[in-house]
């Protein structure tokens, strides 16, 4: 069973903080990888917060192909951070030759925000397709102020490899969503590691989605960015994106889509017409199975909720300067030992918890 975690802080934090959140939660052979999405970046990227940042891992040929593609499509390179790895012997990491984090400026002729969003998505999809065809690398995100790092191996060794223990001020962010396990149930595919990212939405899931097939069959027709489906947890992200970004519904309706209320409870609600209609039309986006999710939204808010039977745990704790969300409380105890634990929140099966930019916690029952 994987564990998931997230940190939202008023002061930018290093990725090591996320590792300290995750490592105490290790059980058995959970720690088979490391993947994180950082949002609201500081350090080397602080000057380029409004410029899209490409996160990828590739071969030399892959790097050349991407450069050629970006030039051809009028993206101007502004800055790049290429980590110099610490190649100690005996590190448990399946590293690729290059990790590239590069800021670009938009092509001049694309000015409207919506057109830019579409362009960034289409570019990422095109790069992914290109690299997949040649087997030369992986592109994880291409979005302003968002960095994604994923690798296979022991998270401690991966952190050593990328100097994440050094806290050297290069990588800093106010929001980090993290997970330390590869998809051990199936062949290990880098794209199958959470968190997943799409147009500003980041999502990590712990558990199982037994409606994977019906979700996937439906999502494929909803939006061109809903691809891959290497993991049943991608369904959660795509539905989040669909409800908030495509349908533009308020966030409270996400939970109604993935774990709708039973019909008997719906019938008692004053807003039953709306909820019934949603349940009907989005029946194929319902999620079943034991699971918990942590999501990051484009505006920096974070959200967590769990399945309607509460078969997977999640806990939220904070000290006013930082809020952490984690599968198990031991992780939060590690990084926030002095918080008031009586204020920890263990969301119930119908509850949604949202943390806003001021670290205010909003919670409601669906």
């Amino acid at each position: 069973m994987c564990r998931i975690g997230a940190i939202k802080s008023k002061v930018p934090v290093h990725p090591s903080k996320a590792l300290h959140l995750m490592l105490p939660q290790q059980e058995g052979y959970d720690n088979s990888g490391f993947a994180m999405v950082m949002q609201d970046l500081y350090g080397v990227f602080s000057q380029y917060k409004d410029k899209p940042l490409l996160s990828m891992a590739c071969t030399r040929e892959g790097a050349r192909l991407v450069e050629e593609y970006m030039d051809k499509h009028h993206f101007t390179q502004l800055a790049a951070w290429v980590p110099v790895p610490d190649k100690q012997p005996n590190l448990n990491i399946e590293a690729l030759p290059f990790y590239i984090f590069r800021n670009y400026d938009y092509p001049e002729f694309v000015k409207e925000p919506e057109a830019r969003e579409a362009l960034l998505l289409d570019t990422r999809l095109a790069l992914r397709r290109m690299l997949e065809e040649t087997g030369e690398g992986y592109v994880y995100s291409f979005w302003p102020d968002v960095l994604t790092l994923k690798e296979i191996g022991d998270p401690r060794d991966i952190a050593t490899y990328f100097h994440l223990w050094d806290d050297n001020g290069c990588l800093l962010a106010k929001n980090i969503i993290v997970q330390c396990r590869q998809n051990t149930n199936y062949d290990i595919v880098r794209y199958a590691a959470h968190p997943f990212f799409l147009q500003g939405y980041t999502l990590c899931a712990n558990g199982e989605n037994t409606f994977f097939t019906k979700n996937t069959e439906f999502q494929k027709s909803l939006f061109r960015g809903y691809i891959g489906f290497e993991s049943d947890s991608q369904n959660f992200l795509y539905t989040l994106h669909y409800v908030l970004h495509e349908l533009k519904w308020p966030i409270s309706y996400y939970k109604h889509v993935i774990t709708p209320l039973p019909f008997s409870e719906l019938a008692q609600r004053p807003d039953r017409d709306v909820l019934m209609t949603i349940r009907q039309s989005l029946a194929h986006l319902e999620i079943n199975g034991p699971n918990t999710i942590i999501a990051g939204l484009p505006d920096g808010r974070m959200m967590t909720c769990c399945d309607s039977k509460k078969l997977r745990p999640v806990v939220v704790g904070g000290d006013g300067e930082m809020v952490a969300i984690s599968s198990e409380v031991c992780g939060i105890n590690e990084i926030l030992p002095n918080r008031d634990t009586s204020k920890d929140i263990y969301p119930n099966e119908r509850e949604v918890v949202v943390i806003n930019q001021d670290l205010e916690v909003e919670r409601w029952k669906q």
Partner: protein, 543 residues
């Protein structure tokens, strides 16, 4: 040598032979009285016997005239194997035995095509039995507890809009409905399908209706019952219970005169309307109610004289799907103020996917369900050639329709209901569950209901006499003496008990795959031990 006329029908030409033990027979006459087909009679037979009537053995050969039970050598009065004689015999002296060498199919076409009721006897193969619920939650995720957990077992009946078509507007952090959407009822995924008053005896129909009402009122299971083509009692039309019924309109429009007259007096809307285009047991044929079954009350409900009632194969005046949508769907929707879902039932066919496609593109959004009826569906009366040689299996057809909707991103918009053979082996819940995993929203069944009432017909030629008006169980006849054999309350109770068990069995199947609501389209939960079936349905082959 005795002259034999080989054209004469002999008992060994008939599909069932009566095995009679004169030595056990008390001559009570119960078997003869109970045989609704008049297949047996009392005759006096001369027998040569050796008897001993003294205290000491004193065998004497005698010629005796004995009353015995004898089977008639006549196709018009042939034994149907119903076994009523065996049921009533106090001494186990008589029973029907299947005759493997029967020549009935050859000999009984003197008066035209063979007619019968029941199901196909030729294509009763069971695709569903080669499918197993094979994706069980083991370690990676917990199975649910079928007893402790709650399950949401409901299916939509009505036209579902795509998410982008919903009239929802954002007001603050809430969504509001700008205007109403097509009516959708969430019902139990098992519909009691269309058997008319006429095809069934009034009492049998009443038993099914009683069970429906009980399941709704007392068991919180919103099971719907389709009226069949033949109308409904006015009292029921004007009662609160109408909401549990789906009123059927078929090509003969039987009963609709009364329904329309009752409309101003209805106190609630019906559960739905079902336009019957075709039926799986005899696709391309209209309904058929033989004169023998058109009793006085049937004449009254349908507004017809005593005559054989043949519905036309098509709805008159319709020649395309679009036109059907425009004329029939629209007018039936309008008749009930667009408050009642209107669905359509077709016989499964090689063309079902095309019809479903077309309906999905209906711009008025007024088709509220597509019912596909497979070749293993039952009927009260049909030509045997239709029953055995026309039709289409429903399992792959449901799958084809679902997958074609998936390809267009339209799955779920017109709910799919599959029927025809559901519960053929008595295990309706397993059949329903597998159909749902393949893409059906729910299933409908008829034959299993009357079997619960007492029908002893099967797919091996047993009875199949629903068309004769001589149903030995009182279910498919209007003969009051036969109808008396049916205990309405006990019959209704059998159906209720069966559906309650069905519900528990559905949970028993949902729990191990970890689903609390119906796994519509969850084909990954199924595996098949038949490679061809697996390939056709797109599920995993296992061995």
């Amino acid at each position: 040598m005795e002259t034999i006329k080989v054209q004469d029908v002999a008992v060994n030409d008939l599909p069932w032979r009566i095995e009679y033990h004169a030595e056990r027979c008390t001559r009570c006459g119960s078997c003869v009285a109970s045989c609704s087909f008049n297949a047996i009679e009392v005759v006096v037979q001369r027998q040569s016997m050796t008897v001993s009537e003294q205290n000491q053995p004193s065998p004497v050969r005698r010629q005796l005239a004995l009353a015995i039970i004898k089977q008639k050598k006549d196709l018009a009065y042939m034994c149907r194997g119903c076994g009523m004689c065996e049921r009533v015999c106090p001494n186990n002296a008589i029973r029907p035995v299947r005759n493997p060498d029967d020549r009935k199919a050859l000999l009984s076409r003197d008066n035209g095509p063979i007619k019968r009721g029941g199901r196909t006897n030729l294509n009763a193969q069971r695709t569903l039995d080669s499918i197993i619920v094979g994706r069980i939650s083991q370690m990676t995720d917990p199975a649910l507890d079928s007893v402790r957990h709650t399950f949401d077992i409901r299916a939509p009946f009505g036209r579902v809009l795509s998410p982008r078509e919903l009239p929802l507007t954002v007001s603050g952090d809430k969504l509001e409905m700008a205007h109403r959407t097509p009516p959708v009822r969430w019902i139990y995924p098992l519909i009691f399908s269309d058997m008319s008053i006429g095809a069934l005896s009034t009492r049998a129909w009443e038993a099914v209706a009683l069970a429906t009402a009980y399941l709704n009122e007392k068991c919180n299971l919103p099971v719907r019952m389709s009226s069949g083509e033949g109308g409904m009692p006015v009292k029921l039309l004007e009662s609160e219970y109408l909401k549990y019924f789906i009123i059927q309109i078929a090509s003969g429009h039987f009963g609709w005169n009364r329904i329309i007259k009752a409309m101003p007096h209805m106190v609630t809307d019906p559960g739905g309307i079902l336009i019957k285009i075709g039926q799986g047991a005899k696709p391309g044929d209209g309904g058929l109610l033989p004169e023998a079954k058109v009793a006085e009350h049937v004449q009254a409900i349908r507004g017809v004289p005593k005559a054989t009632l043949s519905s036309p194969p098509n709805h008159q005046g319709l020649y395309s799907i679009e036109e059907s949508v425009q004329k029939m769907h629209l007018s039936l929707n309008a008749a009930f103020g667009f408050r009642v879902p209107v669905a359509v039932k077709c016989a499964a066919s090689a063309t079902s996917v095309a019809v479903y496609h077309n309906l999905l593109r209906d711009p008025y959004k007024i088709c509220g369900g597509f019912f596909i009826d497979g070749i293993q569906g039952g009927t009260g009366a049909a030509a045997e050639v239709s029953l055995d040689h026309t039709g289409h299996p429903v399992v792959s057809k449901i799958r084809d329709c679902y997958l074609s909707a998936v390809r267009q991103g339209l799955q779920g918009q017109i709910p799919l209901y599959g029927g025809g053979g559901i519960g053929l082996t008595g295990n309706a819940a397993a059949d329903a569950f597998k159909m749902i995993c393949l893409g059906a929203n729910g299933v409908f069944c008829g034959k299993v209901l009357i079997q619960l009432l007492g029908c002893i017909g099967n797919e091996k030629g047993r009875c199949n006499a629903c068309n004769t008006g001589k149903c030995p169980t009182g279910i498919c006849t209007q003969d009051p003496r036969l109808v008396k054999r049916l205990d309405v309350d006990r019959g209704a109770q059998k159906i209720v008990d069966y559906v309650l068990a069905f519900d528990k069995e559905l949970r028993k199947l949902m729990a191990p795959i970890g689903n609390s609501s119906l796994p519509v389209g969850r084909s990954d939960a199924l595996v098949s031990t038949d490679k061809a079936v697996a390939d056709k349905l797109g599920i995993q082959y296992v061995c």
